[in-house]
Amino acid sequence: MSEPLHTVYVPRDAAALSVGADETAAAIRAEATKRGIPLRIVRNGSRGMLWLETLVEVETPEGRVAYGPVMAEDVAGLFDAGFLEGADHALAHGLTEKIPYFAKQERLTFARCGIIDPLSVEDYRLHGGFRGLERALAMTPAEIVTEVTESGLRGRGGAGFPTGIKWNTVLNAQAEQKYICCNADEGDSGTFADRMIMEGDPFCLIEGMTIAAIAVGATEGYIYIRSEYPHAVATMREAIRLAYDEKWLGDEIHGTGHRFHLDVRVGAGAYICGEETSMLESLEGKRGTVRAKPPLPALEGLFGKPTIVNNVLSLTSVPIILDKGASYYRDFGVGRSRGTLAFQLAGNIKHGGIVEKAFGVTLHELLYEFGGGTITGRPIRAVQAGGPLGAYLPPSLFDLPKDYEAFAAVEAMVGHGGIVVFDDSVDMAKQARFAMEFCAAESCGKCTPCRIGAVRGVEVMDHIIAGEKVAANITLLNDLCEVMTDGSLCAMGGMTPIPVRSALKHFPEDFTRSPAAVAAE
């Protein structure tokens, strides 16, 4: 009797690859061959427990057993210990789904990520894939839009605009051509959820975009992915090819009269192209300068036609809403923040990764119960929530629930769900200076408050850091922030003052340390 075929999962997610997943997979393959053990290695996405990468999982009758972080040199020892039967080992974590970090999550958007083979249509279908689209194909466009509206889904890119209302505007626009554009220009530091789902469950994005297309009568779509994400680009392109082969894209989607064509376009290292109108300019082959609004992209978007521009996580939340119904999704969350968000724990954090939870979870729970505090073991002094344009928050605000309105009330934002953690070695004046420096480097240059304001902001911060006329320069900095906030065309210049002012408000002591005082310490 031949031995049963063992199945081992080794992620192909870029984060896992960055700590040697390919080498680990090759070592497992070589060791199995050496020992004459038949083995099937599935290259899945990541489960999102990134401190455990490379997280190797073994299929057992009880479920998948996790081992991590597994380096190539650990592999022989794992075979010796009998890991193919799920045996104990110093790197063993028991059943993956019982690991508290994972078990305590509410995985709706990321339900399949890390579980399936991302490039298997069959695996996708076995795990509930395309059920939302199948249901949508039997509905009228207005019914689909109503379903999305009633789910309470809001734009996950950061702005939080109700997705259904945007779709309705495009649905009601009269035009011979409409477009669906997915904004996958995930440039915020501390965010990687778009990348992870594109690499771990790419068909989910294809399905969400196709549902959007049917809902508003669009026949062409683009996914605009940043050039810093070569793995996501490759995975999405391959998934699109497979979807065409299986008739989930093309002229007759799944035997119906619906037509939808989808293509990937690659950015070129410009943060501003995450702003929707700038992204549209870039897709048209131009400089990525922002457009004045109105007209809204929903009415005059790509090539001047009505266009849905949605973030990856908005679109990947659509399939489950169509599959399980608006009320299923809406039942998660609090207040006007419905459903779940994939929070991303990043920076100086012990247990970094994806935590998909319903809105209402507090920063404290995310940082300590999930994150386990800093990796350096020092106290957390500040977190930046919502990307480089998000506020720096002190521990006194960590009880704040993650909810669009609760965050807005303290001049902060949930944004795309990224949370960057800093320990007590952080210099907040330096962080404020960086916010201005980043804006100066990445401003599209169209409006003066952003283009010139950011440069002046760096200069003023340099004076403050050098201890020159600190009080007068702080007044000047506040004035400058006000001009940028009120006078900028888009969020880049308009929100750069948020990290600056929050740093000043919550950590004023870092701005008043003259070099002489620091030297005396």
Binding site: G187, G267, S282, G347, F438
Partner: protein, 162 residues
Amino acid sequence: MNARSPWSEERATAVIAANRHLRGALLPMLHALQEEFGCIDEEAIPLLARELNLSRADVHGVVSFYHEFRRSRPGRHTIKVCRAEACQSMNADGLIDHIRRRLKVDFHETTADDAFSLEPVFCLGNCALAPAVMVDETLHGRVSPARFDAITASTLATEAVR
């Protein structure tokens, strides 16, 4: 490994033609040219302008807007080091100091032996495993100075095998 074919108008024309069918084709054309030649050669500007019925100034404006497009040929490998907040929180600044000293170059420069071009980048999407560095298209996480040295050494060793 960066492609760095010498400029060939014939080849450039073919690369441009292969992307002619796309709408908003300028960025895909620029990416394809850079993949072939390692940079956007000055000679490519009039070819693109003619193809897309744009002025040379328009094309130049697009090339210069995006950080990714280079105007000069890179070294054999490109090293992108993340400078953004998540990596800062894990002392990316210290790593960057080490890299500058080690390679004896600053950002946007190429080492004397033509092996590495050093570029800053704002976020590689590996923020839970900071600091992050990308060498060509290979992403590396938790990059300490020692690990950086090992990565560059193995990049050169792989090159020698070829």
